[in-house]
Symmetry: C2
Amino acid sequence: MILSPKIENFVLHCGEMGSRWGFNRTIGQMVGLLVIHEQPLTANEIAESLKISRGNVSMGIKELQSWQLVKVTHIPGDRKEYYAPSGSIWDLANRVFEERRKREIDPTLSLLRDQILDGPNSPEEEYAQKQIQAIHDLLETVTKWSAELQRLSPEQLQTLMKLGSSVGKVIDLKDKLLKKS
Amino acid sequence: MILSPKIENFVLHCGEMGSRWGFNRTIGQMVGLLVIHEQPLTANEIAESLKISRGNVSMGIKELQSWQLVKVTHIPGDRKEYYAPSGSIWDLANRVFEERRKREIDPTLSLLRDQILDGPNSPEEEYAQKQIQAIHDLLETVTKWSAELQRLSPEQLQTLMKLGSSVGKVIDLKDKLLKKS
DNA sequence: TTAAAGTTTCAATAATTACTGAAACTTTAG
DNA sequence: CTAAAGTTTCAGTAATTATTGAAACTTTAA
């Protein structure tokens, strides 16, 4: 399981980015490796390729499973478990995005809701309350949007993606139409 | 500079979330504090409120400035510097989003571009190449979209946001408009 | 039922990242 | 020019997070 320079490069880069994407270096490398390899890999192959301990791989896989990024497969007559990405690049990105939303937004949203219900407890808290409300609204919008994106069909997504630099135009057109009716 | 329980709660929470949002606990607390307080604060007030060292505040401010999240103001006849958020909640969120794009996406995009130019160096790299291309395309789309969002006017954004639970409608809308013209 | 193949767990330790506080630096009023 | 007010830097240390490797656990073929 020796990696070609190009692939090694890619895998190492995934490691460096790993921590920015929400996991650690090792796990970043694992994702990179699994994504770039057509065939599923065993835990031992992963450990060997990345030069890390077997235990570390085991913990990494557990973490990746909690993110729903890997699936386990078996080869008939072989007792080992083989690991592969749980879907297309798009699927994986979606999962990461979703998981991060849960970790980065949901807890805050929940706290802010409580704080809003509580209301301002003193004149100085008036301004605080307004800001809390603003953050809450922003986060709620983001949440709704991300849920919406998950729901779109691949074709709709395709269209939306291509829309790119002309979202603005579509919106303007919509406004005009509304005024007419 | 003693904080009311509610505000302290909010600030502490921002600290916990800080690391998830791309900075560390202290810096998260600083953002929270600045956002929730109507009046700009001095570095000493921040240190006192959060019970952290003066040096830490100084480093935190430097970091926040690199994210363009704070602005410095002065009070006539007072030599101290007063710090405040650099804009509305929406502005701040935008900046964080933008900065994270730079850190989380741009370096990868750049590497992948190089790797694509390099082409597959062996038959086994065929598949790798395809995957690299797929990741590249995904990241490029995200980048384009985020640039587009920055460019929209607040009103356009407002419209887009309210469209909310029905992005699908935007697509339908687009199709209808195209047919008419 | 057992031993071989495989996997997971976790205490110890390594690596990384954040924080303090004292010293050095900068600015300005007198 | 100088001293007071303010700010930044950074070496040392504390706190956190990641990794190893050996022991414990699980599964299955014979």
